[in-house]
Subunit: 451 residues, 2 copies
């Protein structure tokens, strides 16, 4: 039965209202996945939400809460009794706790951090010392470790003991005397091994790891490239900080793609889900760009003012302005979008600058030629004079080539200057292309029409 089924919802509601015993509610919701439970909670009132959260098993609540934004999580935890809250917090994955604490006011964080048991509390403090959106803060401490001198049998025994509480258990991380990461072993290899073998004999020594300060986007690229299901995170001293699990990596990949898409569309990046974002946040993210582009675009007004006499002589020149500025913008956007995306997924690197610019310049010219021809034909068909048609066509030819080249140059140069290439998005390229396009237009008009 779907969680959004009205009859199911009503059933839950009436049970909560009547104060039904927790076993009944647990039985009804027991088979639901955490994500689906979060959908169910979203359909209840605030009071009903707390009633339900109070009766669910703490492990279930911990997993379900991870599908909410940090501020929503806090709202729940703040209204539950201290004991329940402590139970839930201590069962949440460390990266979720770090994300929550990072979003809260320090006083709120201190209050909650006091509810954590050791060694979890120290681990959380350690992970919070890493930058936001770094591999360190995103990793989980719930992995299984073993010592290199143990036998396979000893490792399996250890696994049986801690295996039920660990969050990630498909690989076992083999540590040396000082806690440094020496190797890794998959569960399968452990099973296939002779029970008496020492782990250091069968472990894989050459493993892919990342430093804790590494940006999450680069860590995600490594996971995608090497088909990993987990990526160990190392401190400068070579000790394990935690493990990046692939489900968190998937979230990172989606979030980074969303951020790029928002920037490419000319908006500041919006990090919360659509309906959980208030209108004021949308306003803030969008008004900034609209204003910046407005200011930049105002320049085009100046250019037109400058050529007022020409426009007065041949008003027909103004008929083609929208066509010119938009075609230039389209060509520039196509190029910059393709180049920026290729940079994001690692297909274009800094050293490829000249190769890319040369490609896009030739491609721009190839696209510009037929477009210029069609422009000329259309102008003639509409009864314009040949030299006006030629002016427009010549401008189209130059402007598509120039926009395409700019659309390739700007993001790569931007990245070298330390900016996010996606900032050189459609609106910015379009505006620059407009200004250049109009200047060229009137120069050609002067030249070809004797104005």
């Amino acid at each position: 039965m779907s969680v959004t089924d009205i009859s199911f919802l009503d059933q839950i509601r009436s049970l909560l209202k009547k104060g039904a015993p927790r076993e009944t509610l647990r039985e009804l919701t027991g088979e639901l996945q955490p994500y689906d439970l979060s959908i169910l909670l979203n359909s209840l009132t605030a009071g009903e939400q707390l009633l339900l959260l109070a009766v669910l098993p703490p492990e279930t609540t911990a997993e379900t809460l991870e599908h909410f934004e940090p501020l929503e999580q806090y709202r729940f935890l703040d209204h539950l009794d201290r004991e329940t809250t402590a139970g839930i917090l201590n069962l949440m994955s460390s990266d979720a706790v770090v994300e929550l604490f990072t979003a809260l006011h320090p006083l709120q964080t201190e209050r909650l951090i006091a509810l954590l048991q050791e060694p979890f509390r120290t681990q959380i403090r350690d992970q919070m010392s890493y930058p936001e959106n770094s591999a360190g803060s995103l990793s989980t401490v719930g992995y299984i470790a073993a010592r290199r001198w143990w036998s396979a049998e000893q490792a399996l025994t250890h696994l049986r003991k801690v295996g039920t509480t660990a969050e990630f258990y498909n690989y076992i991380y083999i540590l040396g005397h000082l806690g440094e990461l020496d190797g890794v072993l998959s569960l399968r290899q452990l099973i296939l091994a002779d029970p008496a073998t020492r782990l250091e004999k069968i472990m894989i020594r050459k493993l892919i790891t990342v430093p804790a300060e590494l940006d999450q986007e680069q860590a995600a690229q490594l996971v995608a490239r090497y088909d990993l299901t987990a990526l160990p995170v190392i401190s400068k001293a070579g000790k394990m900080v935690g493990v990046l699990t692939v489900d968190d990596i998937i979230d990172v990949i989606e979030e980074e793609a969303t951020e790029d898409i928002h920037l490419l569309g000319g908006s500041g990046p919006v990090e919360t889900p659509y309906f959980k974002t208030d209108l004021f946040t949308f306003f803030r993210k969008r008004i900034v760009w609209l204003l910046v582009l407005f200011v930049a675009e105002a320049f085009t007004g100046n250019i037109l003012r400058h050529y007022e006499s020409i426009l007065t002589q041949v008003v027909a020149l103004s008929f083609f302005i929208p066509l010119l500025v938009d075609t230039a913008g389209n060509a520039g956007t196509q190029t910059s979008t393709l180049v920026i995306r290729a940079m994001s997924v690692g297909e274009i690197r800094g050293g490829d600058f000249l190769k890319v610019v040369w490609r896009e310049m030739r491609l721009g010219l190839a696209l510009a030629l037929p477009m210029a021809g069609i422009t000329f034909l259309r102008a003639i068909m509409l009864g314009s004079q040949a030299n006006l048609g030629l002016t427009v066509a010549a401008t189209i030819l130059v402007i598509i080539t120039v926009s395409s080249t700019l659309g390739a140059i700007m993001p790569i140069v931007g990245k070298r200057l330390g900016l996010d290439p996606a900032v050189f998005s459609s609106p910015l390229i379009t505006t620059l292309a407009d200004a250049i396009g109009l200047l060229i237009y009137f120069q050609f008009a002067r030249l070809l029409m004797g104005l």
Copy 2:
């Protein structure tokens, strides 16, 4: 040592030239990951590539080839001897083989399919019967299955036997008498279980599965939502077709994001990596859209022609045309980008239409008000008459509100009509916004300036 290190490359090259024994080359490249081997191969000449591929262990070659495009894979396989080719093909994951065969000409496919051993060959034919980009064709048949009446001990014995050749082994799929999927067991649960217990007693019965015809994008959404590392794919009869592994899912998520980004940027989607795509493909994908938008944009020329008399009377009206069309475009692009992305990640569904449109209409108005005010001030600052300033400001007010609303309506309606919402990209919305904007502009000019 990095694979792009010149000295390493030279070392490999000279060894290949001298015809060094395969052990030497295998030792040198033995610790490289498949992805890095593919980078190494890309740095060699065609002849050197084949020499190297011939001496690598077939399992390594199989994994490395999966980092190449199908046509490149075919180029390699076609030039290697029959025995080597057969060895490699039979070790590739089934989804990679399906992708290769789907890209080839049927005659080429038939030739290669004859080299496959049973039951692999039949499995491949089965998987190719599913639509391209479906869960079925993307799944791998290299999973581990067990029968429900087996004991944990028997399952472990089976695992030890087949475990080294299976591609995916973190979960064991429990089948019934007719081969239907009855439950799943994680490797960890298997280890923790009493050896004598029958699997059907400890297996998880309620599991998430997908039908083989499901689109890969929706399957990927499920994996992301439920934090899965594998997703079993089922035929209509309930039998297992294969398993979607999380590394393939990550590739799907990246590819789908890339496709959306390309569409949003006004280009047809380009499915191959940037430098592996020839200029003609880029030309094809981009010229289509440039032409379509050109035709649409030509309408704006007609609108301006229609109002020629007004433009002749007040040439200053033309100064603001780029500003108007671009601001309208920016507002529309911001909205459509945010809405389309939210639809892609499942945050907006079909039933949210009215909610979304109402939100964006109010947001558009909120953004339009300050923009209109600033427009008016700027016009006055430049010395324009008050009624011209008012005309431009009033147009900005209406056009930002209208573009934002359109940017929300069009993608959702488009999706209902069965189109890819990302098609309603920036260029399309911009063009529509331009036409509407110019019409409104001249109406206001008539009204407020008595023209």
